[in-house]
């Protein structure tokens, strides 16, 4: 099955006529993703890549039955785009934009959670269930279908690790980035809960990094999981107090260090790899058992 999305997921692309939105919509269509609609205010009635464009998400949902949205709007408009999607009845929102003001992120998550709508991101590469659908910006070539679930705080490191596994013949059920911001719509723990329930997923790889306490919180949940979990945490050589690329990746005081994360995960029985490529061997061992 995989989690969150599959071949039946009907996607609306918010911001489909923008530079990035149109390129990425094409790449998703090429992968086989069911993009049923795009939304760009003022462009309603046109088509792009044969996908009908609407002025509002409400209209797109009414006409096409879209249930999932992916955002390619400027960061300043992300909050409104999310609220529009929620109001239109969308159930899963993949929020690609980076640099969304964190106050906006908190407001849009509060709004969506109260209405039982899931947000992945912001600053997420999206989610892919290889062989079924890709709702995100990841390069398709590094993923392959199989039974390992990957959840990552980083986009590009997700590609690297998925690519390594694919090269070794180990396919994936679903891979997603939860987003690199300090506040995200769906946490590491929530994704692990979904993997735990998923039949297709036999093992889970966590790709973490410095900053925050999501890995530590996830460790609590892992203790109750009956599937093997493997992890890699980036940022051993990051200096404290420096923002490493995005607002989430920063070591503040004693919180958010690689050590505290590795310790918490190991204590929960997780095998932690020293380098990204080492994941492969560990997962191979698990699968052979």
């Amino acid at each position: 099955m995989g989690i969150l999305v599959d071949e039946n997921t009907k996607v609306v692309v918010q911001g489909i006529t923008g530079r990035v939105g149109s390129i990425q919509a094409k790449l998703m269509l090429d992968y086989g993703t069911k993009i049923v609609a795009g939304v760009t205010p003022g462009k309603g009635g046109t088509f792009i890549h044969n996908v009908p464009v609407y002025d509002t998400v409400e209209e797109a949902v009414a006409k096409t039955g879209a249930d999932t949205s992916i955002l390619f709007v400027p960061a300043a408009f992300a909050k409104d785009a999310v609220i529009e999607a929620v109001d239109a009845g969308i159930k899963l929102i993949v929020a690609i934009p980076e640099h969304v003001p964190v106050h906006d992120t908190m407001r849009m998550i509060e709004y969506a959670k109260r209405r039982n709508v899931k947000i992945i991101g912001p600053t997420t590469p999206g989610v892919i269930s290889p062989g079924k659908t890709k709702i995100g910006i990841m390069p398709a070539s590094v993923f392959s279908e199989g039974s390992v679930g990957i959840v990552s705080r980083s986009g590009t490191l997700l590609y690297e690790i998925a690519g390594n596994l694919s090269l070794a013949g180990i396919g994936q059920s679903t891979c997603l980035g939860i987003g690199g911001d300090p506040v995200v719509g769906t946490s590491l723990t929530e994704v692990l809960q979904m993997f735990q329930e998923d039949d297709q997923t036999k093992a889970v790889v966590i790709v973490g990094e410095i900053g925050g306490v999501q890995e530590e919180e996830a460790a609590h949940f892992i203790k109750q999981m009956n599937k093997p979990v493997v992890a890699y945490i980036a940022g051993r050589s990051a200096p404290p107090g420096q923002r490493m690329g995005h607002a989430g990746a920063i070591i503040l005081g004693e919180r958010g260090t690689v050590e505290s994360k590795i310790n918490a995960l190991r204590e929960a029985g997780v095998k932690v790899a020293n380098r990204p490529a080492d994941i492969v061997g560990i997962v191979e061992d698990i699968i052979k058992k």
């Binding site: 986009g155 997700l158 390594n164 506040v183 919180e217 890699y232 690329g245 607002a247």
Partner: protein
């Protein structure tokens, strides 16, 4: 972006949060007048955007005019915790009876602002939480609802405050939340809130950190981030739109994505190398951005090699390759460059680089690339 203390106190003043009488000087010529305006005895405070100024010698007491002049002159233009002191704040000394802690920040797990109050101020909030947890009350805020003064009063009650102190502290806490919201803050802190002997309250210190991603709409603050960093490379990085962190090695690193870039640096360390920096492009690579990023790093004389590690998901790899090749050619780069680049249109990108004479790693494993890099450096 962290505001300087005097800037934060200006915002406080606009919101009616009481701050001590004070004046800021940015040249020795202004010191005498400032002392007269504020009156003795004084606190002389170096304005640098970091904590721990007191221990580092950035906060001095002065009881006479001469003493105040001397301390202010000594601090001005001095270097404190890596920052040049460009402003000195002269403040009237308070007769402090008690110190409280008031703070609003973001609870990342809850995804909500959290308002905090402690009757034990003066140390940082992590320390309070560890040493005096019973003195610390915190409350998460639903943003669409807001934070009300009566809730602040409820927090004060729990800590045993009463009378006019309860009224003043809860009013200040509510206003601090307003500042937090109005200015897209990630931290707004009064530590300590000074309770004077005659029961008045003053924000004796002020810490406000604004969300960098919201600076575009906080135009009233008129902040230019690139003017606020000491490191010229970091200032340049802000201008061209990438994130740069100086490290103390000699291998330049450019990566797309924070996680991949950090992992790259970790791996370089593992292989016995040492990165000179962290430089992350984000998802907005263009030919120009890539050119600028390479140009920025090769200015650094410490560099003995440059490793570029990119993935083309949202980033266009052909443009990236063009930018690298252009920089290599135009800037006449003499140190070795190695590029690992994977993703959409990777073959085309590889060709561009190879035609420019730049070695390319076609493996997906960063470990393979770093291994090769170390060999190149050794052989060079």
């Amino acid at each position: 972006m962290r505001l300087l203390e005097y800037e934060a106190k200006e915002l406080f003043r606009n919101f009616g949060i009481p701050v001590p009488n004070g004046a800021v000087v940015k040249s020795p010529a202004e010191i005498a007048l400032a002392i007269e305006r504020v009156g003795l005895p004084l606190v002389v405070k170096a304005q640098v955007p970091v904590g721990g100024r007191g221990k580092a010698g950035g906060i001095k007491l002065a009881y006479s005019f001469e003493e105040a002049v001397r301390e202010a002159e000594n601090l001005l233009y001095s270097s404190l915790k890596g920052h040049t002191v460009r402003y000195v704040l002269l403040e009237k000394q308070l007769k402090i009876a008690k110190e409280y802690y008031l703070g609003v920040t973001i609870d990342q797990s809850a995804g909500k602002p959290v308002v905090m109050l402690s009757t034990e101020g003066g140390m940082d909030v992590e320390e309070i939480a560890k040493k005096k947890p019973e003195s610390l009350i915190s409350k998460r805020v639903e943003m669409s609802r807001g934070f009300y003064e009566f809730e602040a009063r409820g927090m004060c009650k729990q800590l045993g405050l009463e009378g006019s102190l309860l009224v003043k502290v809860s009013e200040t806490l509510r206003k601090l939340y307003e500042v937090f919201i109005k200015y897209d803050a990630i931290i707004a802190e009064i530590n300590p809130l000074a309770i004077t002997e005659n029961g008045e309250v003053f924000a004796a210190d002020a810490k406000i950190e604004i969300d960098d991603d919201a600076l575009f709409r906080q135009t009233s603050l008129n902040i230019k981030p690139e003017e606020r960093v000491e490191d010229p490379l970091k200032a340049e990085a802000i201008k061209i739109g990438v994130t740069y962190v100086r490290l103390d090695g000699d291998i330049g690193v450019i990566g797309s994505g924070a996680g991949l870039t950090m992992a790259t640096i970790d791996i370089i360390n593992d292989f016995g190398g040492k990165a000179s920096n962290f430089l992350e492009t984000g998802g907005g690579i263009t030919e120009q951005l890539m050119y600028n990023a390479v140009k920025l790093l090769v200015k650094d004389e410490r560099l003995k090699a440059l490793f570029i590690n990119l993935y083309g998901g949202i980033n266009p790899m052909v443009q990236a390759a063009n930018g690298i090749a252009k920089a290599y050619r135009e800037l006449k780069v003499t140190i070795p460059i190695l590029v690992k680049l994977v993703g959409n249109e990777q073959e085309k990108a590889w060709e561009i680089l190879e035609n420019a004479g730049i070695p390319v790693i076609k493996s997906i494993r960063t470990e393979d690339a770093v291994e090769r890099l170390m060999k190149i450096i050794e052989g060079f």
